[in-house]
């Protein structure tokens, strides 16, 4: 497999804060990497360095084998980039804007027209084709940004929050589009939507405070936390604390942890050092103690749990 994106040891400081701290990342053709992390983790900053927009304090980035700083024209020719917030020239009609970007990327005449027509259809822009971009809804504006990044059919696609602001249908279409074009490209998408990563990404890279804290397939990430040694319990009671105190002696020495509170119910995690107790036995025991237990089951972590786990550990 050809490696199309290769970032090594990227570092960037802004004054006193280290935004990106030694991030390395390599992406092969056909891979879709989901780039995750809390707000301010350094996702956009990393992307800006890979695209050659922002010069790193140290480290290198290559696109299609070309160093983005030593050979910017060759590297950038292979790159399509959607910056955060999908910036565009508001006064320009969609068609003019895409045609401008296409020309800047070296497309001319028939080739340009073909690509424009394909973008109009594929990214579904036909309806708004001659409207000024500033008059479009957020979702359409984001799509113009995607079309702009795809116009020259680049090998490498770097998309910073491409589905931000899209409605569920458009999100779905966007994911389909990414899946469709994925086989021939290397794609990096940053997102805050974890289900998106599970549905379109072949790999998830999680960063926190500028450092890569996880890099694996979504399935492996979840699997790594799934050792079958934990049980989850859902309780619903306004006196959560006292209920938890009563549960403690009844679960056979498990370590107890509050995982999530939602709509008046609390999800508790019981961690065991080795084999967990039988869930039915626990359920019966708790019920007979008259505790407000709704559900007892083996804990199967979700990507969300993994995300929270790896990104909060550092602080």
């Amino acid at each position: 497999m050809t490696t199309l994106v290769e970032a090594r040891g990227l570092k960037k400081r802004f004054g006193d804060t280290t935004a990106v701290d030694d991030v390395s990342l390599s992406v092969s053709r056909g891979e879709v990497v989901g780039f995750l992390g809390p707000n301010g983790a350094g996702k956009s900053t990393t992307m800006k360095m890979i695209t050659g927009f922002l010069e790193p304090d140290s480290g290198t980035a290559q696109i299609g084998g070309h160093d983005v700083w030593r050979d910017p024209a060759a590297a950038k020719a292979k790159l399509g980039y959607l910056p955060e917030g999908a910036p565009a020239y508001g006064e320009m009609p969609v068609a003019d804007f895409l045609s401008f970007v296409g020309k800047m990327r070296g497309l001319r005449k028939a080739q340009l027209n073909n690509r424009l027509a394909e973008m109009a259809e594929r990214v579904r822009l036909t309806e708004v084709w001659s409207r000024p971009i500033e008059a479009l809804s957020k979702g359409y504006r984001r799509r113009v940004g995607i079309a702009q990044a795809l116009i020259h059919d680049p090998d490498v696609l770097i998309l910073d929050e491409p589905t931000d602001g899209l409605d569920p249908n458009q999100k779905h279409e966007m994911r389909n589009l990414i899946r469709e074009i994925a086989p021939n490209k290397s794609i990096i998408v940053s997102t805050h939507i974890l289900e998106e990563v599970e549905s379109v990404c072949s790999r998830a890279v999680i960063i926190a405070s500028g450092k890569v804290v996880a890099d694996a397939t979504p399935r492996d990430l979840v699997g790594s936390k799934d050792d079958g040694r934990a049980i989850q319990i859902r309780i619903s009671s306004p006196e959560e604390a006292s209920v938890i105190e009563k549960i403690k002696p009844l679960v056979g020495g498990a370590e107890l942890e509050v995982m999530e509170r939602m709509n008046g119910s609390t999800r508790l995690l019981l961690r065991y050092n080795d084999k967990p107790e039988d869930t039915h036995a626990i359920k019966t025991r708790l019920k007979s103690a008259d505790l407000p237990v709704e559900e007892v089951g083996i804990y199967r972590p979700r990507l969300e749990d993994v995300f929270r786990d790896v990104t909060t550990r550092i602080h």
């Binding site: 800006k48 927009f53 950038k76 910056p83 910036p87 565009a88 006064e91 320009m92 970007v101 800047m104």
Partner: protein, 248 residues
């Protein structure tokens, strides 16, 4: 090289059209023509002078341009940075200087349009008498060159901020210094304390001096080199600053 030239022309086309996408262009042209007309006819007394030339018109150009070219140049980079489109531009496979040049040429061409709209005055002068059209042509050349220098300075300064108003005011101040540098008033003020070389350096920066010579019909190498190098220098600094400031 051809790729570079073509990206200059693509940027030029987009920028030039962008001036006309908002009412700003029309307002600018109207203000320019109104001010130029008012200065020429009422302040300088064009008809009362009784001579068939355009000196009354050209005299005012440095002062008018001092305000108007910062207005044309202010959006060139400040707006790119504010809206984030600079991130698109700077990740395209073209050399940054081609973008700097394309934007500058678009603004300059727009100024050319404004100047072209004053040609009825030239016709009027010919109709009233028999002026030295060579001198007038030289005057237009000088005016256009001066506009280019002011615009290059304004474009350069607009890379330093995301705020167009700040870009405008700063450019107007710098341009004001360039215009007044050669005035005896200014030179006299520094001559008292500044070393000789500094006084000479300030005097050499004088736009007014060069402009007055060319509007008298004297198209001389030093004047062409002065304006030309001012433009080239400002554009080089512009390219450097865009790179430095783009991500901040």
């Amino acid at each position: 090289m051809t790729a570079s030239l073509s990206s200059v022309s693509v940027v030029f086309g987009r920028e030039f059209r962008a001036y006309f996408a908002t009412p700003l262009a029309a307002i600018f042209l109207v203000v320019f023509l109104a001010l130029a007309g008012a200065m020429t006819f009422f302040v300088s007394g064009f008809f009362a002078r009784g001579s068939a030339d355009m000196a009354a018109f050209f005299t005012w150009m440095p002062w008018l341009f001092l305000v108007l070219l910062p207005a044309i140049g202010m959006r060139l980079w400040a707006e790119e940075r504010r809206s984030g489109t600079i991130e698109l531009l700077m990740t395209m496979p073209v050399a940054p200087w081609t973008i700097v040049l394309g934007k500058f040429l678009a603004g300059w061409a727009f100024t050319g349009v404004a100047l072209a709209l004053t040609t009825p005055l030239w016709i009027t002068v010919n109709w009233l008498g028999s002026p030295d059209n060579g001198v007038i042509a030289a005057g237009y050349l000088g005016t256009f060159l001066m506009a280019g220098a002011f615009l290059a300075v304004a474009a350069c300064i607009s890379t330093l901020t995301k705020n167009q108003v700040i870009a405008f005011i700063s450019a107007a101040i710098v341009t004001f210094i360039l215009v007044t540098a050669g005035l005896e008033l200014v030179l006299g003020a520094i001559r008292g304390w500044a070393p000789y070389w500094l006084t000479e350096a300030v005097a050499a920066l004088s736009v007014l001096e060069h402009f007055q010579r060319i509007t008298q019909g004297l198209i001389e190498a030093p004047t062409l080199i002065f304006f030309g190098s001012l433009i080239v220098l400002a554009l080089m600094i512009n390219t450097f600053l865009v790179d430095l400031k783009k991500a901040q």
